[in-house]
Point group: C2
Amino acid sequence: MATLQDIGVSAFINIVTAFAFLLAFALLRIQPINDRVYFPKWYISGARSSPRRAGNFVGKFVNLNVKTYFTFLNWMPQAMKMSQTEIINHAGLDSAVFLRIYTLGLKIFIPMTILALLILIPVNVSSGTLFFLRKELVVSDIDKLSISNVRPESIRFFVHIALQYLFTVWICFMLYKEYDIIASMRLRFLASQRRRAEQFTVVVSNVPHVSGKSKSDTVEQFFKTNHPNTYLCQQAVYNANKFAKLVRKRDRLQNWLDYNQLKFERHPDKRPTRKSGFLGFWGERVDSIDYYKKQIEEIEKRMALERQKILKDSKYILPVAFVSFNSRWGAAVCAQTQQSKNPTLWLTNWAPEPRDIYWRNLAIPFVSLSIRKLIISLSVFALVFFYMIPIAFVQSLANLEGLERVAPFLRPVIELEFIKSFLQGFLPGLALKIFLYILPTILMIMSKIEGYIAVSTLERRAAAKYYYFMLVNVFLGSIVTGTAFEQLHSFLHQSPTQIPRTIGVSIPMKATFFITYIMVDGWAGIAGEILRLKPLVIFHLKNMFLVKTERDREKAMDPGSVDFPETLPSLQLYFLLGIVYAVVTPILLPFILVFFALAYLVYRHQIINVYNQQYESAGAFWPHVHSRIIASLLISQLLLMGLLSTKKAANSTPLLVILPILTLSFHKYCKSRFEPAFRKYPLEEAMAKDLLDRTTEPDINLKAYLADAYLHPIFHSFEEEELVEVRVDKYQSRVASAPTSELSSPSPPHQVHHPSSPPHVYHPPPEHIYHPSSPPHYAYHPSSPPHYAYNYENES
Amino acid sequence: MATLQDIGVSAFINIVTAFAFLLAFALLRIQPINDRVYFPKWYISGARSSPRRAGNFVGKFVNLNVKTYFTFLNWMPQAMKMSQTEIINHAGLDSAVFLRIYTLGLKIFIPMTILALLILIPVNVSSGTLFFLRKELVVSDIDKLSISNVRPESIRFFVHIALQYLFTVWICFMLYKEYDIIASMRLRFLASQRRRAEQFTVVVSNVPHVSGKSKSDTVEQFFKTNHPNTYLCQQAVYNANKFAKLVRKRDRLQNWLDYNQLKFERHPDKRPTRKSGFLGFWGERVDSIDYYKKQIEEIEKRMALERQKILKDSKYILPVAFVSFNSRWGAAVCAQTQQSKNPTLWLTNWAPEPRDIYWRNLAIPFVSLSIRKLIISLSVFALVFFYMIPIAFVQSLANLEGLERVAPFLRPVIELEFIKSFLQGFLPGLALKIFLYILPTILMIMSKIEGYIAVSTLERRAAAKYYYFMLVNVFLGSIVTGTAFEQLHSFLHQSPTQIPRTIGVSIPMKATFFITYIMVDGWAGIAGEILRLKPLVIFHLKNMFLVKTERDREKAMDPGSVDFPETLPSLQLYFLLGIVYAVVTPILLPFILVFFALAYLVYRHQIINVYNQQYESAGAFWPHVHSRIIASLLISQLLLMGLLSTKKAANSTPLLVILPILTLSFHKYCKSRFEPAFRKYPLEEAMAKDLLDRTTEPDINLKAYLADAYLHPIFHSFEEEELVEVRVDKYQSRVASAPTSELSSPSPPHQVHHPSSPPHVYHPPPEHIYHPSSPPHYAYHPSSPPHYAYNYENES
């Protein structure tokens, strides 16, 4: 058990680490060469251009201005300068709401910390020693400040109960205020948005097959009948997954071709070669440039074939359509009502914004969705409770003997005593570390299998799964020793009233562990976040090997978005820790406070300077955060009940039983009061915006505006005359299922490439998304590699 | 423990009882004097008139036709004659769906019974004796036919598991088919209905208060703005609860006045008198006729005052309105969408049909609804688990000593040995019996407090509460001895996996109890139902003392409706028993079968001849029935798992664990597949009916048709010129909040009293509901006593 001194040492180490990170960041960010890594957002918004244009040669890479080194922490006040409104305009509402969670943490925990430290610490310390605990439990100094130090049956427990009441009321009050503010922010944000395609569009899934009719005709007829006054047009969805795969493959080959061509240019004496077999490892040696050229040719042939299939074969039209209406009111009505007698047909939902759509999942047949959901929920359960089993299995394999057998040439190295002991300590944990590192990716893949069609939903689902994992394996797993599976087993064989006691009694003893956890994961982790080590390295590597033009350099820096699937769950874990330990071991609270303050500063800086959100969900994740803070409250109340019942303060139970009931009622009230603002679009609002639009822009051609908003990004790489076929409504020329026509569209070509007004308003989409003028950079999937050819060093 | 012979004796007694009831019914029903008791439905539909017009004096009361006595069971084939379609036309869809539950029971249980008896009984019987049970457990003969007779760890359990699988699949299959049929019956029924007010109307609650504007104006303006193309008109709702109370009081006094006047007429020598004090028990003696006349006068003055208040005082207009649209499509859109930014304002829902509305609850302020719901759910929990506490308290008071103290004059009687022993056996149970008798009423009152505005919803909620009560106190309470509270306590202190074992192990032993229960409650109870003893007695009493005209006699017979709050839960209990015991003690199944068959016959007869449904919900209760049968399946699977685990057939658990998961998935699928048909109104359907209407009746004045459909029944007793104020839209004369106008309406008066087409189509409303021409018979509350004056005997 850690003493106060141990905690002090740990705190010192972590503070130094965090400080080192911050210092490194402060030094790196003022180097012009890193400018794109630390300020990509400003490049995207166009407010900043390469700082290397000015100055001498060295000054292009290294900051020679000595003065700036003395003000290296000035990013903090800079980060605070922007007002909330400016942040919304700059980075979107999602980012602003995300930051509000940190300020909410501060607002909740600052008064709680002061009160808990002032009242509870004296009460606990003066309560005598920990004489009642069994001898085998080693008591730490921290425990003397905690509730453990209070004698059983002491009247002092009423102080703790009173504070738990106070804290519950305070947290609920703050949550209510916050929900209110965020809900109205969301409504104001939605109301202030200019015309956006998704406001007029509904995604219809499970379109039934009517024999002898094309899907487009079926959809058109259905909505013309049932929404006669509001139906405007519809966009069929094509199954372009195979085509997209080919495009990705072609891009990858193109990258290799460029790389080899450049290599050849630099060393014209030696033509680059490669082996023709699997991954270039074996087979006969061939000329690389010729090889890749041939491969690309082949792929392009297959692409042409696939493209023809998509356009001609009606089987490639999915039973999904984007249906647009001539008013927001019409779309709101269609999205919220049931269309068909058979409730599994013609399912309507708000369309996500175009850049938020995860196109691949649109092709999932409806029937398999519920099976997928069932399977994934079982898998998540298994993952949360049994993840240790495969890891233990891998660990049993990954030992030194195994390593020696696989790679006998390593034996002399491994046999060295120093390296051997290092590996023996390192290898078993490796599997676990790798697993934890790839866990968010696994959870994201699971969410994708579930079949949600919006990236924002996918991220929220992944975040939920990660939260369950952390709750069971970090929170409960640390408190109750043993694997989650063992816990599950013992919980199933315990009486339900016993569980809070089991957990409650060991909670105060784990305070030191969680304090260390907060310092390592929270303090140092957040400081590492601002350093952006990985993007920094990748950017410089790309810069060295692939960048040839300024535009390529722009692309070399992917700013990324706030990583909601990871940050939200860990945030929620900190809320849980703070709320649970508030009355149990209040000394933990200051550590939480430091985390919230630091993380707030860091994320504020990152959101202003770095991240570029891929989509805008207008704070749709907030209800989840809210309900998980409520869940934390409930957990804390249950655990306190269990803890106090082991303290023989059993007469406190009736007092404490009221709290969860009140908390749940509060939650239910909040849900009915605010949640519809996040799920539905009130008609009043829609009508008001429609009327405003009609008066300000009475002669807008909405049909042309909406025509290609929901076109699969694949089609931006298609030929002009092919596009005519799928973007029917824009030119009113033909229906989608008709055979190819050689008639060129009568509209001017520029209209095809640059729709008169971009569908996204708050910040124009980054170049690599939806830029129709760059057909080979097919990139609806952000992870698809762009192809760079020239080495940056050569250019400079 | 009962032997097979005991069961036989019990069966014999119950069969004889049931037979006696049936015989009595058969004899009573062919007496002309009882004709109105046993065929009221036909009087209401007009197909039957008093049979007493023909024949001699005695023949008017007693059936002298000897032949009819020999065919006294011919009601059974008669009940079977009507086809389902005819029943729907005759009694409504609710009744038809209700009957289908019984046939579903037969369809499910007949194959199950055959299979279980053929396979399981031999398996169980041949399995050796019950040697493994501890000595203190007395083993009955029934147990030898049950799973108890199988040796632990026997391979034979796989037969039971296989059958459980088979039964689960079979039940799910039948449920799916049934849900499908009922959902399409519902849709067809709704589609085939003629124009009905509720198809065009939405009830809007929580209308916000806008200062300086009347509620009606606020509503009108809001819907004109947000539903400009479909909004038609609106009907404000007035708080007439106080007025209704006065009317009820006046009617009660009027009844007494009539009674006394008749008494005086019959005995003109003696003027009836009463004491003026409380309930006529003390105070000075006054002349009854004068007294009641004065009282009525007073009440009528107060009524006039209240009426003025309702019409003039804007506070009497509730923040609720019935908003009508010019098409079903418009109403469907409004009912399914969110109207306002603030999701607690402008809540829209389908309006129940006018006769289904429980007007009193419309006055409940919205804010108190969630509190009411919370309180009621806590009370139901308390009622289910702690109802024995107050009853035990009353029982402790209601003993012979207490009785002697309260009524010392009874002492000589009580002291008689025979009466004493009778009372000692009878009194303690009396409190419980009274409680169980009034329990449905208590539950109904609780549901009313919850604030639902439709009678159908109230009945469904009451049924749900009754089901929980039966599940815990009849099913679990009989299996696990001890009160429900003790069970709750022991369950809370047991591990969750232990509970199914505890219950499972005692299930086979309780089979005899449940067989007896089925015979007493099911067989004899159902036979009692057809006898209609209570209505028979009440009718003849009324006939004797109050009836003076033929119309009064018509009113003396309230046919009532199927008592859903009581019958549905007990039906569901029989499903539960059948499903749970199917593999455990299959000998119970034939008893269930007899119940379903008998009950089907009886209810078919009653629905055809007796009951007159108060409302038509188009089978809205079916999803509840479905989900409770699913719940029974889950319970049976869990209990079998527990039972088998005590049989050391632990390796069966993995096999059985799959079943609940499959069952739950099935339920989820059914829910998404069919439930929307019961909750929402698809736009496709609405549009189709609208179009049909437009072609068949293009020039209907919908506004006039809808104008007074949702007028509070109270207004039917108001004066013509007052009505102008509240039924604005019909005559287009003025708004509701304007001061009284002396202008008479230009429309012919008959239109006021008899709207051109009745709002209810399937069967015209019974006379005592909505008959505006009988102002003093104010009776929107069915239990309000009509006033009869002439003794029937005098008339004949």
